[in-house]
């Protein structure tokens, strides 16, 4: 542990300020709370929002898991883990079940989260109306007046152009019947996991200087139309080529030897865990 820095890198005042913004965000589900985003040893847009939340919340007894698009071992995840471990000395895990804090880029883990866990999502663009209205002063008014026709209009345009809603990720959601929120670029597959989630979900945008939250057991509904209901991606009849799982979010890969399409769990720790249990059952020693 590097003792040249304060515990968890930040000074106590900074951590308190970020926690204060976080508390306000939890009190108003889905509302974007501005906060004084700090300079970080990684570039803005590389997870600084999530990292600031993690650093402000982490305690000595916490167990941290960091994932980057489902992977525990990508460069980004590894470096964030290194930074937190070097400045706090907390335990790092890859098992979703063991973690108390999970910082994630663009995925919610496959293993259901419980009430003792906090999920922290990194957010590039927190404003769901940004591509409809570029001015922050105007979108703020839209939120205040619950004027969300722009969010539906963007979906309508997709249907008119392509025949269905085409948001691959970051499909807007209505939180607690009040605020429309960008769920960060998680696949549509993960949107339903936010509804009545047992774990607290925090979202941090470092570059855009916003924090927002979904408290446990909050109603989260993905936007849709009566005749075009919201549908998550389906992977019917698909199976993980490594562990044989079904009904999870898959990466689609091309097998270079055969040229065919293969599927593989996107959540690497889930895949390894399943593989291990399959081996244990099969009695491979």
């Amino acid at each position: 542990m590097n003792t040249a820095y304060n515990f968890a890198f930040f000074d106590e005042g900074s951590k308190r300020e970020i926690r204060r913004a976080t508390l306000k965000a939890i009190a108003i589900p889905g509302y974007q709370v501005p906060f004084a985003s700090r300079e970080m040893p990684i570039g803005r847009g590389w997870g600084t929002g999530g990292l600031q939340l993690t650093l402000s919340l982490i305690g000595k007894t916490d167990v941290l898991k960091v994932i980057d698009q489902g992977s525990d071992e990508s460069v980004n995840a590894v470096n964030i883990k290194k930074l937190v471990r070097d400045t706090t000395g907390v335990e790092i895990t890859e098992l979703t079940r063991e973690a108390t804090l999970i910082q994630s880029r663009h995925r919610i883990p496959e293993v259901p989260l419980n009430k003792d866990q906090i999920l922290i999502l990194q957010v590039p663009i927190p404003e769901p109306l940004r591509f409809y209205e570029p001015q922050e002063s105007v979108t703020k008014k839209h939120h205040a007046e619950k004027e969300y026709s722009g969010a539906w209009l963007m979906l309508f345009e997709q249907i008119i152009k392509y025949g269905s809603m085409t948001t691959g990720a970051d499909h807007p959601v209505m939180v607690h019947d009040r605020y429309v929120m960008a769920p960060s670029p998680i696949p549509r597959f993960d949107n339903p996991k936010m509804n009545h989630s047992e774990a607290l979900i925090l979202l941090g945008a470092g570059r855009e200087k916003k924090v927002y939250a979904i408290p446990p057991y909050t109603k989260v509904v993905s936007l849709d139309f009566h005749d075009y209901p919201f549908e998550p991606e389906t992977f019917q009849d698909k199976q993980c080529r490594l562990c044989g799982s079904t009904g999870v979010f898959f990466d689609e890969l091309v097998d270079e030897t055969t040229g065919g399409t293969v599927y593989q769990c996107n959540d690497t720790s889930y895949c390894i865990e399943t593989l291990n249990s399959v081996e244990a059952l099969g009695g491979v020693k």
């Binding site: 409809y132 008014k141 205040a144 007046e145 619950k146 004027e147 026709s149 722009g150 539906w152 209009l153 309508f156 345009e157 249907i159 008119i160 152009k161 139309f225 009566h226 005749d227 075009y228």
Partner: protein, 281 residues
């Protein structure tokens, strides 16, 4: 006819000033003003005590030179600007018992989305230029609470057909359209939720004559067919003569003359109106 008709919109003593006002201008009553401008505090009195009623199916024309307060009046009616003073009552909102200008911003948005339509002089103000034409119409329907794509698509196509936009161009963005086409998309958008009141602010200004004629034709046709009430602002007396049943003449923020359009044009009473009518080429 049984009894008197009640107005669709009734505006009473609408005033709008830009600036704080001072003892020199005494709330626009003073003689020391230069036109409607106070030299001491720099306040501009854009609209002063404007009152009028519009009845079902009626077209009210408003004429006046530039700077006379026509557009400010329209912006106040559509809540694009706050009013300084005055009241307005809409028959379609709370039975005409609530002053519109006293409502919360959410309620004002509701009124805009449900019972009014507006066509701006500049299509950039009224349309989302990067969204499809049919999407622009859907926007108004979505904000009025519609959540069914097939219904909105049908309504949008029907309206675009009505304003003579070819069906195969309905998915195109208005930024690719000519000025006249953009104006027609705006009209289709304003009409999408069957508003009882339509506000038209200089709709034909800047269009060439043949396009002007077709846009005017369209408005006249739609107005007869759907029996909507229209408040029409223009400085073009030809447009007023063709469309308006009644006309108000504004000068320096005040209504200086009003009456039947023919009457105003044939027998103007006020000196300014006389000058205006006689300068018609």
């Amino acid at each position: 006819m049984a009894g008197f008709e009640s107005p669709v919109i009734s505006v009473k003593n609408l005033s709008k000033q830009f600036g704080p006002g001072c003892s020199n201008c005494q709330g626009a009553r003073s003689e020391n003003l230069i036109k409607n401008y106070c030299q001491v505090c720099g306040t501009v009195y854009a609209c002063r005590d404007v009152s009028f009623d519009v009845f079902p199916g009626e077209v009210l024309g408003i004429v006046g030179e530039s700077g006379s307060g026509k557009s400010t009046l329209m912006q106040c009616l559509y809540f694009d600007q706050d009013t300084t003073n005055g009241e307005a009552y809409l028959a379609a909102y709370q039975n005409g018992e609530e002053n519109l200008f006293k409502q919360s911003s959410q309620q004002k948005r509701y009124i805009r989305n449900h019972v009014m339509g507006k066509v701006y002089q500049n299509p950039i103000l009224g349309l989302k230029m990067d969204f499809s034409s049919i999407g622009n119409i859907a926007e108004k329907l979505i904000s009025a609470g519609h959540r069914k794509v097939s219904l909105m698509e049908e309504r949008g196509t029907e309206l675009l057909d009505k304003v003579n936009i070819p069906v195969h161009r309905r998915k195109e963005a208005p930024k690719n359209f000519s000025g006249g086409m953009q104006q027609r998309v705006q009209i289709a958008k304003a009409l999408s939720n069957n508003p009882p009141l339509l506000l038209l602010d200089e709709v034909t200004t800047g269009l060439d004559l043949s396009v002007q004629a077709s846009v005017l034709d369209l408005i006249k046709g739609l107005q007869r067919e759907l029996n909507i009430s229209i408040v029409l602002v223009s400085h073009d007396l030809g447009v007023i003569r063709m469309l308006a049943d009644r006309t108000m003449v504004m000068l320096e923020g005040r209504v200086i003359e009003q009456g039947l359009t023919d009457q105003i044009l044939e027998d103007p009473q006020h000196q300014y109106t006389q000058q205006l009518v006689h300068s018609l080429l």
